[in-house]
């Protein structure tokens, strides 16, 4: 069999953070295409909140996410997925999370707490991440140390401050993630599932 072009290998990076914090903005700033949108049906059975014997359509919900791509070479493409705004939905979307190289958690200094859930999630899943503080128009009254403290961030987790609308900042956040990944020791034991 022949194909017109050999398929490139693909990897993905998750762009997470609280609702409306600038995830799609960052995806758009670094992606080579305008952010694309896709949807998935998720059933509440996946979250296990209820006994759902006989799940019907009312228990299915539609979650949308925006994503972009960066073609590294003809052999390698990086996909960037902005996670759905409400964590309770992307937490149950295993396909979204599985196989991610790592994540960027975007946080807003005016409401850092909105990104706690994303940080907790990456930590619990053993997914390496960096934190990108988004300050529009340079409005940032808190020091990096204060932010780290407020987010209860492990000292080795990189933290950057900038404007997610700007491609260089998005690029630097992604580079910080890759450097962080390169600096991590190899896992000796498997990360517990879940």
């Amino acid at each position: 069999m022949t194909s017109s072009q050999a398929a490139p290998a693909a990897v993905k990076i998750l762009i997470a953070g609280g609702f409306g914090v600038g995830k799609t903005t960052m995806v758009g700033a670094v992606s080579e295409v305008a952010p694309l949108r896709t949807e998935e049906y998720l059933t509440r059975a996946s979250i296990g909140v209820d006994d759902l014997a006989g799940v019907d359509q009312k228990d299915t919900t539609t979650v949308a996410l925006d994503f972009g791509r960066i073609t590294v070479s003809s052999e390698l493409v990086v996909y960037l997925f902005g996670t759905p705004g409400q964590e309770r939905f992307w937490f149950m979307w295993n396909d979204l999370v599985n196989g991610a190289l790592g994540g960027v958690v975007i946080a807003d200094t005016r409401r850092l707490e909105s990104s706690f859930a994303s940080i907790d999630f990456f930590e619990s899943r053993g997914i390496p991440f960096v934190v990108a503080i988004n300050c529009f128009h340079g409005q940032n009254t808190r020091s990096a140390a204060e932010i780290r403290d407020a987010l209860d961030l492990d000292p080795q987790v990189p933290l950057l401050v900038g404007d997610v609308r700007e491609r260089p900042f998005g690029r630097d956040a992604l580079l910080a993630l890759v450097d962080h990944l390169m600096s991590l020791p190899a896992e000796v034991e498997p990360v517990p599932a879940g």
């Binding site: 693909a10 896709t38 705004g85 396909d95 599985n98 990944l181 896992e187």
Partner: protein, 137 residues
């Protein structure tokens, strides 16, 4: 930024929006194979042949318009998520259609690179390549 999660709409419309996509799949709600991920890359096979080297001539009528749209789109290698966005169909519905085409030998699927930390994490060569690509942004 406009929130794109519209909870109320989704709650109210879910019954209606369920019907049409799964009509496209003739009622199937799960793909034949369940190993596609959002970033599995699909490429249309040019000049598909069977195991005896005989050119495959899928009955065009056996293919639905969505199948044909996928074959046209994946002439350029595309991820599952991109195909779903292009077709404006949910990912799970798209996967069913993609599985049909892979089963017929009309589409090739390439699984994502394994980067699971439990399996040793991504290799340094891959990370170096990603880093080089990002630096050019």
């Amino acid at each position: 930024m406009t929130p794109y999660w519209e909870e109320e709409d989704a709650e109210e419309d879910s019954a209606g929006s369920m019907v049409r996509p799964y009509t496209i799949t003739r009622g199937r709600t799960a793909p034949e194979r369940d190993d596609f991920s959002l970033i599995t890359v699909l490429t249309t096979v040019q000049d598909p042949r069977d195991e005896h080297g005989v050119p495959l001539r899928p009955g065009r009528r056996a293919l639905q318009p969505e199948h044909r749209a996928i074959l046209a789109f994946c002439g350029h290698p595309s991820a599952v998520a991109e195909v779903a966005a292009e077709l404006d169909l949910p990912v799970s519905v798209t996967k069913i259609l993609l599985a049909d085409l892979v089963a017929q030998g009309l589409l090739l699927a390439r699984a994502p690179l394994s980067v699971a930390r439990a399996a040793g994490g991504p290799d340094l060569g891959l990370l170096a390549a990603v880093r080089e690509g990002l630096r050019r942004l």
